[in-house]
Structures are given as C-alpha cells and as structure tokens.
Assembly symmetry: C2
Homo-oligomer: 655 residues x 2
C-alpha cells in the first residue's frame, strides 16, 4: 500500500506541498467546494496522475472524463511520477461549476514539488544495496524472507588501535568498512528543497546503543547516528544525489537489546509552532547473531595451553594433532598464567552477513589465568571478541558447560544450525547451581540455536562436556550422541570378571593406587553412587532424545564411572572420562582411561574403539591423568577448536 497523506485545499487559493514520489496525496473535493457547485473538472501538469473516488472506493481515471458530478465523499488522489525541475512545478487544478455549466464558479490549486527520497539497504540479502526495495522496512526469516543485516563490528582491523573496531566513533582504517553494512540515501529533485522543509535521519532511543552509522564523505567518515546521536539533518543540495553510509552493530542481542534496528528517514515541514513530518520511511536491520559451531564442522585451528606440569600431555597432544593436519596453537604459560582450561575461558563462534563473515570468540565471565588470551591473542582482523557477564565464581558459567548439537529436525521443526546445550540444576528447583541468567538470556537472544537446558549440577564441576559429546557419522542423522555410561562400564567389568580377569587392576603405574576390577564391582557405595549418576544421565538422555529428536540408535554409551566428592556431595570421574574428548573431523583425542590391561590391551579403550571405529572415526588415547584428570578435567576441558562456519546461512532459517 502506498503511503497516503491528507492535504486540504481551499477555494480561490493555491496550496503548496512537497510530494515524495511513490506516495498518494488525498484531497477532499466536496468539503471545500463552493455553494451552488454541481460539477467539477480536474486538470493537471504532465507527469501528474489524478484519480477520483467516492466513498464506495470506485476509482475512475480522471483523464477519460472532463466533468464530474459533485457529491459528498468525493476524493481526489494525486500521484506524480516525474521529479520536479523547479519548486512547485507540478500543478493540479480543481475547477468547480454551478448550474451554468459553461462558466466556472471557483477553483482551487495544488502545487507540488515532486522529489525522490529513498533510504536504501541490502534488503534482498545479496550483498549489494538495491533501489527502494518494497520490503526494506520490515524483516522476515527464511529463503523467501527479506531484510538487511548488521554485523557487530567486534573485530580489530589494526593492531595500533585500542579496543574493538566498534568501541569508538571513528573508522581508523578503510578495510573496516568491509565489516559494515552499506546504506544509501538517494535524493532527486530541484537543487534545493522548498523553504521550510528539511531531510532528517533518526533512530529511536532504544537503538542508540545498538548501532553506529558513519556518513561517507570524499575525505572522511563521520559518525552521524548512534552513541547518543539520535538525529541528523541531511543535505538535499544538488537534488540528484547519493549519500553513502556505513552501519556497524555495537553489541550482540541480549535480553535487554532486541535484535532489530530501525533507521528513520523523515521529510519535516517547519510550521508556526514546530516541525511536523510530511513523509517518513524506515529501513530495518537485524543484528546478526553469534553462532556456535558443533563438532561435525571442520576445524580451522586448535588451541591448547603449555604449562610446566603438562609436558608429557602436550607431547602426546601434538602428535595427535599431527594426524589431524589441523593448525595447532599452543598458548604459553606467560599468557595462560598456569591456567590450562582453554575450553572453559572461551567459546569460538562466528557472525555473518551477506557481505561478510567474522570469527567471534565469546569470552566467559570466568576470568581465570587465561582471561587476557582472547583479547590479546585472538582479537584481530576479522576475528571479533565479545564478552558476557555473570558470576565469576560459578563453575556453570565456564564454557565446558556450553556446547551445541549438530543440525537436527525435531517433530518437523528444523534446527539447521543445531541447538545450544547448557547444564543447570533441575528445572524448577530453587536450590542448586545454574548458569547465570545473563548468559542464558544472551544465548536465547541469538535466536538461531534455541538452547536446551540439561541437568549438570549433579557433577562437582557441573559441565555438560563431562557426560556428553557429539561425533560425526556417515549414516543416520550425520552424527552420534555419546553419553557417559556407568551401567555400560559395570557390564564391561562384570564380563571381565566372568572372563577370569577380576584381579586385573586399573591405574597400573599411575600416581594413584591401582584398584582391582573385582574391588570396583564389590564396592556397594560406588555402585549406589553410580546408580544415581546413571539416573541423572538417563534424565539427560530422555531430554536430549526429546529436544533433539533422537532415537536410541543415535546414541552410543561410553563406559564411565563416577564417585562422590565428600566436600561437594557431587560426582567426579573415577577414571579419565572418555566422553570428554576432542573431536577434530574424524580424529578423536580421547582421555586415556587407564583401565586394566588384558593381554596388553585396555578393554575400556577397546570398547570405545569397537563402538566408534565402524563409523570411520580414528581414536587416539591421550594421557591426561596427572595434568588434567586429577584436577577435575580432561582433554576437552583443556583444549578448544575454532571451526569453519556452517554453509547454511542463518537468515534462511524459518523461525
């Protein structure tokens, strides 16, 4: 529907109005008609299209008639399709006739200055700003959707600048414009607007902390909107003009910041008291979400820490990484300050618009020894950094407790970017530990990877990566969910005992006391503790089956045992927790369980190999016993992967 505007005319007078091409001016003809009027005629300049309608909305093209019977409710609709060369050069004249049909009894004139004003963005999402897209003022998801996209410009193009690119009101380097969304203000018309009019760009107070818009001049970039600037008067000189703007997002959506940003273009008329808009249009951007990458996506770079105590681990880890042929970066102790938990401090992800893709590391509120690493090492050109707030001392806010599933379809609903998985206390329990609401709200606000909340508070550390992971698979849904399984471990140990290996010992040659399989089987407290743990994992299994649309065939049980930590009354891995593995394509870096050696082989490792190798996966068992396991973590906790993005574009989701 064209924008409609009411303009009142008066007999015996010329009324001037500014007209924006594409809109309709409605003029009531009956009300101002002179007494005794019976018929009327409408004439207009070239390029002016008039239509007459009555209240029943019958429209008759004026050009095919010369005279109309006057009746109540008669309306004149005026559209102009050519811009004015001079102010008020487009004229419409309404001539009124009385009983004497030859002589007019009065007339009224509308003089229009026709201009084009259009604020344009890439609403069709092809990376290029089009002209006056009819959908530019709204935003719709899906392959048939529309609406422009704004990147949070949180990378840092130049080492010399302080902070992220969007942290001040300057553009320090030309390359930074590539991260921004292009916007064009197009104007056509006479050299100047008629006196008393001005062209204005504005944003609402709700959007000023979300967006910053730079105006591009031959010589400079000027911040004109955002960061407290709510409104900017625009030039109309020359009349046939394109003003270029570049827009950057200032922050990712969260519960307070919704993800739509609206830019308003107004033509304002100055009147006796104050200004009043005679034309307004909007363009809408959506802040691109931060997106997580599941284990099924290929790796780009792997990160691990070097500390004095993990020399042996690091050697094994490097040789594992050689197999993967993936880039490995070792964060030195000078940077990690003896903090090895690379998984917990950060989560790698990305953000994307049709014109650009940025890696973005999400920085946890954990802030232990590694706290400067993401900021000092990762942040750089096309590698952004953003941080969420939350309780610092809460272990559930570490990002070993933040994972994402591969793409799934659940009861017909598609999640082409998978679903985020976090751990918490049980739903509706008022006690227990939860991930901070600010982080949960941030994850929900990204919209495209609808989070699932699991139960992880039964663990001392309380991270979902302690009992689950995903590995790629060539069949079924393209992946398997691996779950830690005490039951499966007990069954395996029972078979070992029945096979005459009850005296075989775990933890041979380790720093802890070796323990016989038969001792483990006879430990009733350990059994009770693991029955409870199995119930907790079953609760999560049933939840994951429902929320990810999985069948039993999509799940593989990985033998594991847990035992109670007396202080926290919660569970810890009894031997290295194999499910806490690193997944690099088909290569799996798995905590070495140090099970009993039967004929030189560890039956725990064999069980995992025989479950995973048929899927084409390559298992490497890495000794993390003293360096990680005894400090309540494993291989996955001690490493991190920056992965390649999805080929699927998030804006093509149906939400």
């Amino acid at each position: 529907m064209s924008k409609q505007r009411t303009v009142n005319l008066e007999c015996g007078k010329s009324t001037q109005a500014l007209y924006v091409i594409g809109t309709v001016i409605n003029v009531d003809i009956y009300k101002p008609s002179p007494p005794g009027c019976r018929t009327f005629e409408v004439t207009s300049s070239p390029g002016v299209n008039c239509s007459i309608s009555n209240q029943q909305n019958l429209t008759i093209a004026a050009q095919y008639a010369t005279r109309w019977a006057l009746s109540e409710g008669i309306l004149l609709g005026v559209m102009v399709d050519q811009v004015s060369y001079a102010p008020n050069d487009r004229k419409v004249t309404v001539i009124f006739y009385g009983d004497d049909v030859g002589e007019p009894i009065d007339k009224m004139i509308l003089e229009l200055t026709a201009v084009v004003v259009s604020l344009d963005v890439d609403a069709d999402r092809d990376g290029i700003v089009e002209k006056n897209n009819p959908n530019k003022g709204s935003w719709k998801w899906g392959p048939k959707g529309h609406g422009a996209i704004l990147l949070v410009n949180c990378d840092k193009e130049e080492a010399a600048i302080r902070g992220n690119d969007n942290s001040d009101d300057k553009v320090s380097i030309f390359e930074d414009l590539g991260d921004m969304s292009h916007m064009i203000l197009r104007t056509e018309g006479p050299n100047n607007l008629p006196a008393g009019y001005k062209l204005n760009l504005s944003i609402s107070p709700l959007d000023e902390e979300k967006v910053q818009i730079f105006q591009h001049d031959i010589t400079k970039m000027t911040s004109v909107l955002g960061r407290k600037k709510m409104s900017a008067v625009m030039d109309f000189t020359k009349g046939d003009n394109e003003i270029h703007f570049f827009a950057e997002g200032l922050m990712f959506p969260n519960d307070k910041i919704t993800n739509l940003v609206t830019i308003n273009l107004s033509l304002l008329q100055s009147m006796i008291y104050r200004e009043i808009p005679i034309f307004t249009e909007q363009v809408v951007f959506r802040l691109a979400p931060w997106i997580m990458t599941p284990n099924t996506l290929g790796p780009a770079e792997v990160f691990v820490c070097s500390v004095k105590r993990n020399v042996k681990f690091l050697k094994e880890f490097k040789s594992f990484m050689e197999k993967t042929q993936c880039k490995l970066t070792v964060c030195p102790e000078s940077m990690n300050l003896s903090d090895v938990w690379m998984q917990d401090e950060i989560e790698f992800g990305y953000t994307e618009a049709p014109h650009k893709y940025l890696n973005v590391v999400l920085d946890s509120p954990r802030d232990a020894g590694l706290q400067d690493f993401p900021y000092k090492y990762l942040l750089g050109p096309d590698f952004g950094h953003t941080k969420v707030t939350g309780e610092k001392g809460n272990s559930l806010n570490s990002f070993g407790n933040l994972e994402v599933s591969p793409p799934v379809t659940v009861n017909g609903k598609e999640y082409p970017l998978g679903r985020i998985i976090i751990g918490s206390s049980l739903p509706n329990s008022s006690d227990g530990r939860k991930m901070s609401k600010t982080i949960q709200d941030f994850l929900i606000a990204q919209e495209v990877q609808s989070p699932i909340v699991l139960y992880s508070d039964w663990l001392v550390v309380g991270h979902v990566d302690e009992f689950m992971t995903f590995v790629p698979a060539p069949d079924r849904k393209g992946f398997r969910l691996l779950l830690a399984s005490p039951d499966s471990c007990y069954r395996l140990f029972k078979k070992l005992k029945e096979g005459g290996h009850g005296e075989a010992r775990m933890f041979e040659n380790q720093v802890v006391k070796p323990v016989k399989i038969s001792e483990i089987l006879n430990d009733q407290t350990l059994r009770e503790e693991n029955a409870y743990v199995q119930q907790c994992i079953n609760w999560n299994r049933d939840m994951l089956k429902m929320e990810l649309g999985l069948d039993e065939g999509d799940i593989i049980d990985i033998p594991a045992l847990f035992h109670r930590d007396a202080e926290f009354q919660r569970a810890l891995a009894y031997f290295p927790d194999m499910v806490n593995m690193l997944v690099i394509g088909k290569f799996l870096g798995i905590p070495k369980p140090f099970g009993p050696l039967i004929n030189g082989k560890c039956p725990l490792e064999s069980a995992v190999r025989s479950a995973l190798e048929p899927l084409g996966l390559d298992c490497t068992f890495i000794d993390d016993f003293t360096s990680y396991h005894m400090r309540y973590g494993e291989v996955h906790c001690g490493s991190n992967v920056c992965r390649k993005p999805f080929t699927f574009k998030w804006w093509n989701m149906e939400i």
Copy 2:
C-alpha cells in the same frame, strides 16, 4: 507423543520403578544381555503392554511371539494401563536363551508400581476442569485454541478486609473462590507411594509474583504456592484421591511480568545424593488481560463530579443523563477534593475468564484530588482495582489520553476488541512529552488491543480526546471516527460571512469577550496556528486510517478552532471542543460551542447535528464553558463511563 523414560535393567536382578500411566518406559535389551545369548522372551503381568523395536523403529507386539532373535539396538517399550493395587505388582520378565534353546541362561525383571497422577485445569475453556486434557501444558489463542485462564483477583469481596482480595495469603470469604481458577490434582494407585518417592508441586521463580495457589481442605484454604512459596509436597495417601486447588493472579502482565504461568507436577525419587524427577508434567495458565471498552459498547454506569463551580453544568448533565436512562453516580466534593477530571484519574475496563467476569478500574499515576475515589468507592465485590506507575506530573499520563477504538479489521488482520489509542510526541523525536514507558508497556503487555500511538504533544494538555472520538453508526464498520477540524470550521465561518453574517458574534453572554466571525476570519495568526493544527490532525488522520483500516467515509470532521498558549507554545481549544463529547449509546453529550446565533440557531451545533443525526444519534449540547472549557477540558474530560464487556471472548482472538 508419550513421555519416554529410560530404565536400565541388569541380568539376574529385579529392578523396581514407579510408573505413571500414559508414559513409556524404554529398556535396552541388548546391552545387558549375557554372553552367548541368542534369543530372548518377554513375559508380563496382566495390564502390562510390551513392544519390541529395533533401531529401525519396527514395532512388533510381543504377545504374538514367544521368542525373539537378539540383536544390537533391540529395545523394549513398556506401558501399563491399570493402576497397581500394591507396590511393584506389575512385572515384566526378560528371559535370555543361548544356543540351547530349551534352557534360559539368565533373566532380568522390571517391577513396576503403576500410578495415575494428573494435574488438571480448565484447558478447554468451558468453565469446568476436565480430566488430563492433552493440551493442558501449553496455551494457544483462537476458537480452536486451548489453555487455562487465570484472573487477577483484584476485586474485594468483603468491605471488612483490607486491600484487594489478592493482597494477602488468605481467603477471607467463600465467594472469593468464584474469582479463582479451579485446579485438581488426581492420584490413583496403592495406598502409598513406594518408599523414596514423593509428589511435588512447584512454580519457577519467575512466576512466584504472578500467582498464588490455595489448597482446599474440608476445613480451610491454605496458600501453598506463590508469594515466595516455590514448592509444596503433596499427599498421596489413600491412593484414589482428588486434591482441589484454587489459583488467583496477583498482577496483570507488564513488561517485566509475562502472561504465562506454569505449574509443575513432579514425582521425585530420593537417591543417594539427592532427589531426581522420574516424571514431570506442566499445566499452563494465561493471566487474563485488562480490556478497555470503546464508545460502541453499551453503558453500565456514568460518573461525574460535583463541585461548587459546576452546579449549572451538573444540572444540564443530569438532564442529559435522564434521556440515556443510564445510571449516573455523582462523586461529591468531599470525595473528589475539587478535582473534576473524572476521565483523567481512571480508565474503566474489565477482565474475564471462562468462569468469571470482573470489572477492573485502571488507576492512573495522576493522583490528584480524585485519587482515593477508585479505591474507596469503586473497589468492591466483582469490581477490581489496579494501578499503573508513571510520572505523576506528566499530563500525557492522564487517561483522557487513553482511548480505544471499536473492533476493526486492518488488511485482513482482525482486532475484535479494537485497538488502544494513546497520544505522545512524534515518533523518533527525542524531545517532547510521552506517556510513561511503564504505562505503554502495561498496555502492550495486555496483548489483545494492540496500541496505536498518536501525536498529541502539540496540545497544551496533550490528550487524544481533545481531537478525536468514536460514535456508533448503523452502517459501514459500525462506527464513525470524529476528528476536530479547523478547516471545516473556517469553511463554515466563510460561508456564514458570505451569507452576510460576518458581524455575528461568538461567546455572546459568556464571561469572555464576544468575537465576530469576520474578526476570526481576518486573524492571520489564528489562521496560521490552525493551519499547523490541521496538519497535526491530518498526521493523526492518516495514521488512524492506516492503523484502523479506515476510509474517508468512516471519518466525520467536527468544526473546531485552536489557538496558541503563549506559555506552553502549544494548542488550546478556542471555543468548547465538541469532539470532546460523552457517548452513551446513541446519546451524545457535547460541549456547547457558543457559536454565533443566526436566526436563533448556532451553525456550529447545526453542522454537528446534520452530520450525526442521520446516523441515528441524539445530540445534547451541554454548557461546560466556565466549569470545564476555561480550565482546559470539556464534557468528556469531566466524566467517565463504565461500559458492558464485549460479548467476544478475548481468548478466541488469533494473535
């Protein structure tokens, strides 16, 4: 889909589990099977239904086969359709066979205690709680929708109690239960739950300030959930039991309080560390919104103030009210403390559930002389009271600036309860006055009358009722929008002058100086001011046409003039503002304009009569000149109407 639960069995053992009828227990048969096993058999007690499926999800009814080949991924699904008489009386036995097909090599047993637990509400919206409605856990709008409804119990059944009925944790009078939503917890099974289980009701911390739930006992009502109570353990004694609850809403939705309330029912199993739920279900209520009533709804009661200075007005007003045959309540000066602006202090509305309807007065933050009136006079049995906060001194927070349209359809979208209309500064203008965000958020949060924001800040008082109202009409959309129109007034005055009445004077015999029609026409400043006002009203006209889907034929112009107030640089009515009228069915109480008398008749009144009387409307012009007009208000500002509710039920909207 039935709720699925994973239970692990072990060879040579009986495993006990509590089972809720309607759910499915999944048992993996392959994983715990003994070495050398080739086939298996499943037997079960009467009332237990077993199905066998493999990973391809083929299900074969077990009762038609006696022996199954064992293979990886074989699952047993167990459902029970009769409640247990004694704990663990429903048994499933899985018997494993090896190469010797005659002799079993091992078996495992599942012993179930089958119970019914169901939390029930009126999810089909017929006013009666049904049994285990499959949709009770979700909420859907529309005639084919579902989901229970909760009233905000903000009335006061008994004069003796302090505050609203929902302001404490007691039920002081039996009648108050009628305002609450009934909820039933049904349990069936053996006399007691097996040891280690308990039944629990809970709400999330987000809901505790929204709802209070009373448990009904023979002798008393006990508040068990809400108001800091997050969780309550429920009895399962006797086994065949109905526990009755009554739920009341504590506050209307606002931007912080969403309108869904979830009550969780859980069966908890106590284990070595802590409890874990083995069954959970939810029921969902929606807080019924506060709904406004447009002028097209019939009146129930009209309110006006009596003060020393409005004796003459009141006499005319009462005689107008006699025509309407509607109840009139005059608020005495002892109650109104000389504050006559009855429209501004309060807005009448209602709230509704299938089982009950309550009038609810919304109290503005204005809090002038009338501030105690709604609380002391209106609040009572089935007449609720609620208050919104906002800046007290902001005139745009007075409820002359809060109106509602009749039902409309806009581009195919139906608004069967109309749309709320409020006034503000221009969109995206950072200066100027706006209605407080808390009030706007409250109105938006009610969801069913999606607000439209008009431009009213051009007026000194700044209320939408100064330039618009709605009257009922027998044709078209069932109503007309009336708009104040300076242009129409100038046309009328010009005709009068042309008819030789330029010397006729307005305001004859009033306290202000009379003024000639020709003087008004010649006053160029007044013309310029009114040209501006006309532009402001046109802006609102175009907005209302778009947002209410109106044509020009739905709009009637009512002659009006405005002039500038030097102090506020904003507009005031030049003569009594006729559009600021009271609409009581077909009877209109209109501010008497005191236009010039031509042949004993006022042409302004005649213009209004000739526009409105053909619609079957009855115009009464009431002298409010000194008592209201000169104090910046008119008849509508000085009165208020409690109207009958819509027959349309809000939950039948499609949102």
